[in-house]
């Protein structure tokens, strides 16, 4: 690497001007027009904000910063890492939106002279729309009352009387004890005007109201900002849905600018330029490898270049890039965990793995039997795995993620110690020993099926006023037989009508009907129900019950009990 620089390469290479933005001609044009609309006179334009939309690494933030630089505007940024609840947005972005500002290089910008200050809200789609103080309140310690606060600070009442200069000329009388003080706010008491009491009050309020770091109410605050700002605002999002469905102003009151994933040539060109400019000296092959790897995400490409530039000679860049690949990584990690034969600290466990303990568990579960030397060890190992699972469950139910470290330490070193109590196992590193978890494979292949089931259940739940959790137990067992029963010939038509009416009422899709029939979606019986559903106009009536005199004939070859 060239001279050690404090900033990551991707930051240092940010384009300084809109004309340096790679591969987004349409977006650049729109953004420039947005910028110019703010340069006309001192009055803000009708559309006061731009919404930049696109997948990561396509230049949204870079373009916003470049625009500001081109027009000589100041910039106030709010990133996802800052607290962005309603108050924070009102205080930072909201304030900057109605005032002139200073720049960090020591200039005062006057909008009177057309000097604007651009407000950039990065990843605005991650803001939550909850209004302040709504939803689950974190359990917090009760703040001290003013009296309690003073007791801790002064301990003796004479200390307080002295500090507040009580009893001196012009001041109120001293307090006999702490109980003479109000528990809460002092209101208009004469002593509350004393400067010392004021200072104590301020401290107390600070202690009683810890800052709120959540995103609560952030979205509402941004909507207000977009409507009322007197300075240009740019929002960047990966997905505009959360905003546009949150408030109409994001549909009609902003200039929407789309950023597309970059084409390979654009990424290649940009990486070549950076490689030259930074003197990294990468060959075309390496750059091609990176280009193929990042799929249109230029920032990822620059990060890859930076990672590769630190490599010792002789290391194949392909293996380094592949390291990002979660799965191939988990094969090795699972082997490492199971053969450790000692406890691994959480940091050691996670080394080189980008997976949560919840992702790790199926891998270990799948592969423990393959590593177990005997049934006793296997049994002990499964015990430990169960314990790890217990912590995972607790962690997600209680939302106490610190419990994850227990889970991950037990499921790795703990399980390994159960298998190999004597220390590190000398099991050779046979890659094919570790297998992909069947549970995950099953989940993957049944994904489509589960989606159908889910949508069907949600329709049933809505109609029956039940929670979706209870529908599978209470309603599905009643509905499914109505579709799977093989009726007697004379009931056939009535049943078909009923099924069609139900399908129409619930607006069932072919897939959902097929699920109920336990058939493929293109099966004739599915098509028949769907077709009939378009014609039926009669109200939904249950099919006639089979008459008790003529019980349905049992399938052929089945004997009757009585």
């Amino acid at each position: 690497m060239p001279a050690a620089s404090p900033l990551p390469l991707a930051e240092r290479c940010r384009p300084r001007s809109l004309k340096d933005i790679v591969g987004q001609p349409e977006a650049v044009r729109k953004l420039r027009a947005f910028g110019e609309s703010w340069q006309q006179g001192t009055h803000p334009p009708r559309i006061r904000a731009a919404l930049l939309e696109g997948v990561p690494g396509t230049g949204k933030t870079s373009a916003a910063l470049a625009l500001a630089n081109d027009l000589g505007w100041g910039v106030v940024e709010m990133n996802a890492s800052d607290a962005r609840n309603r108050t924070a947005i009102e205080q930072v972005a909201g304030r900057a939106a109605i005032t002139n500002t200073f720049t960090s290089d020591g200039r005062f910008l006057s909008s009177r002279k057309g000097e604007r200050n651009l407000i950039i809200l990065d990843e605005a789609d991650c803001l939550s729309g909850h209004s302040a103080r709504e939803g689950s309140e974190e359990p917090s310690r009760t703040p001290p009352t003013f009296r309690e606060f003073l007791e801790t600070r002064y301990r003796r009442i004479d200390a307080l009387n002295e500090a507040w200069h009580l009893g001196q000329e012009g001041n109120p009388d001293p307090f006999p004890s702490f109980h003479a003080l109000p528990a809460g706010s002092p209101g208009r008491a004469a002593w509350a005007r004393l400067p010392q009491a004021q200072a104590d009050l301020r401290d107390w309020r600070g202690a009683a109201n810890p800052p709120d770091l959540s995103d609560r109410g952030g979205l509402l605050a941004v909507a207000k900002l977009v409507r009322e700002t007197l300075q240009p605002v740019i929002l960047t999002v990966n997905n505009s849905r959360p905003l546009t469905k949150g408030s109409a102003v994001f549909r009609t009151g902003v200039s929407r600018v789309r950023f597309y994933p970059l084409r390979e040539e654009s990424v290649r060109g940009a990486l070549h330029r950076i490689s030259m400019a930074e003197n990294l000296g990468f060959s075309d092959e390496v750059i091609d490898l990176v280009v193929a790897h990042v799929k249109g995400d230029l920032r990822a490409g620059i990060n890859d270049l930076e990672a590769l530039s630190g490599l010792p000679p002789g290391v194949d860049p392909a293996t380094v890039l592949g390291y990002r690949d979660l799965e191939s990584n988990l094969y090795e990690a699972t082997h490492r965990w199971l053969t450790a034969g000692r406890l691994l600290r959480n940091t050691d466990v996670m080394e080189g793995v980008d997976a949560s303990p919840e992702d790790m568990l199926p891998w270990i579960e799948e592969n423990v039997p393959r590593y177990a030397p005997g049934p006793e060890e296997l049994s002990r190992a499964m015990e430990r795995l169960a314990r790890a699972q217990f912590y995972l469950g607790k962690a997600s139910r209680l939302r106490v993620w610190t419990l994850w470290s227990y889970a991950s330490e037990i499921m790795t070193g703990g399980v390994s110690l159960a298998l190999f109590p004597e220390g590190p196992a000398s099991v050779g590193r046979q890659e094919n020993r570790v297998e992909f978890p069947r549970f995950l494979a099953g989940m993957g292949s049944s994904r489509g099926q589960r989606a159908v089931q889910h949508s069907l259940l949600s329709k049933l739940a809505r109609r029956t006023h039940l929670s979706q959790r209870r529908t599978p137990d209470l309603i599905l067992p009643l509905v499914q037989p109505l579709f799977q029963r093989s009726p007697a010939a004379r009931e056939m038509e009535a049943l078909l009508r009923f099924q069609s009416a139900l399908a129409r009422e619930l607006e069932l899709s072919a897939e959902e009907i097929a699920f109920l029939l336990d058939q493929e979606p293109d099966h004739p019986s599915v098509t028949r129900i769907l077709k009939e559903a378009q014609h039926v106009s009669e109200p939904l009536m249950p099919p006639p019950l089979p008459s008790p005199e003529t019980p349905a004939a049992p399938p052929r070859g089945q004997r009757k009990l009585f």
Binding site: A93, I98, T99, N100, F102, S104, N117
Partner: protein, 245 residues
């Protein structure tokens, strides 16, 4: 290296003033004392604050930067009472800032100063200057707060005035030149400022009896006051509101 002993009231005022703008800040320590420069996240207000070594009870220091979490200092201040002395010690590098009061010692993790913006303070010289009593200013601000979220300051060769306007209500504070300590204005100048910063800044002043205000036409406000018995001074800059025509 930095080692000092300071009165609780002095540190509290310093921290109160700083915390109106930022939650984290950089203490710039030199042989002569400390300096704090801060800009609020919306770049609307700036602050430069100096405390000379004589403002401390004891002080030894050489050139070093300490990134502090203002809230943590406040936590320690809450454990002390006026009249107490606090000891501060920092040996540099990644070490902890040691703050002790009475029998309590707190070892405080410091913030990497590289992550804190080091604002360059613009050279702002508004034409009008007024020196007035902190109490009178505070009174005017208290009145304006219930009416609006901004306030217009006017300097005239004959008077200083403060005006705020809400939907239905108006409030004016007008002090004639004869009742001001000092008034220098060749012509009438006025600007509108956001009240929240102005108000929290003025309210955080606990020891200065007088403050100096500089005002221009749609120009930043400069507010100067001293603390720690004149051994510390603060300069506060506030950008004016965007005024629509």
């Amino acid at each position: 290296m930095f080692k000092a002993r300071v009165k609780m009231e002095v540190l509290r005022e310093l921290v109160d003033v700083v915390s109106t703008l930022v939650t984290e800040t950089k203490l710039q320590v030199s042989v002569d004392g400390i300096e704090v420069k801060a800009v609020d996240p919306s770049h609307v207000a700036m602050l430069v604050l100096n405390l000379k070594k004589t403002g401390f009870e004891e002080f030894t220091g050489d050139s070093t930067e300490i990134g502090i979490d203002v809230e943590k200092i406040k936590d320690v201040l809450r454990l002390s009472k006026p009249g107490d002395l606090l000891n501060l010690a920092y040996d540099g590098g990644k070490g902890k800032l040691e703050v002790s009061v009475g029998k309590i010692v707190r070892h405080m993790g410091v913030v990497d100063p590289a992550g804190i913006t080091d604002p360059k303070v613009p050279n702002v010289n508004p034409p009008g200057k007024v020196v007035l009593k902190t109490d009178e200013l505070r009174q005017g601000i208290r009145g304006s707060e219930s009416i609006s979220d901004h306030v217009t300051l006017t300097l005239d060769p004959e008077f200083f005035s403060m005006h705020s306007e809400g939907e239905n209500d108006r409030l004016d504070l007008k002090i004639p030149k004869s009742e001001l300590t000092l008034l220098e204005a060749k012509e009438t100048v006025k600007s509108m400022y956001p009240l929240d910063f102005f108000s929290s800044m003025v309210k955080s002043i606990s020891s200065a009896e007088e403050v100096t205000i500089f005002v221009g036409n749609e120009y930043p406000l400069k507010l100067e006051f001293s603390f720690a018995g004149g051994r510390g001074d603060a300069r506060f800059l506030l950008a004016p509101r965007v005024e629509e025509d």
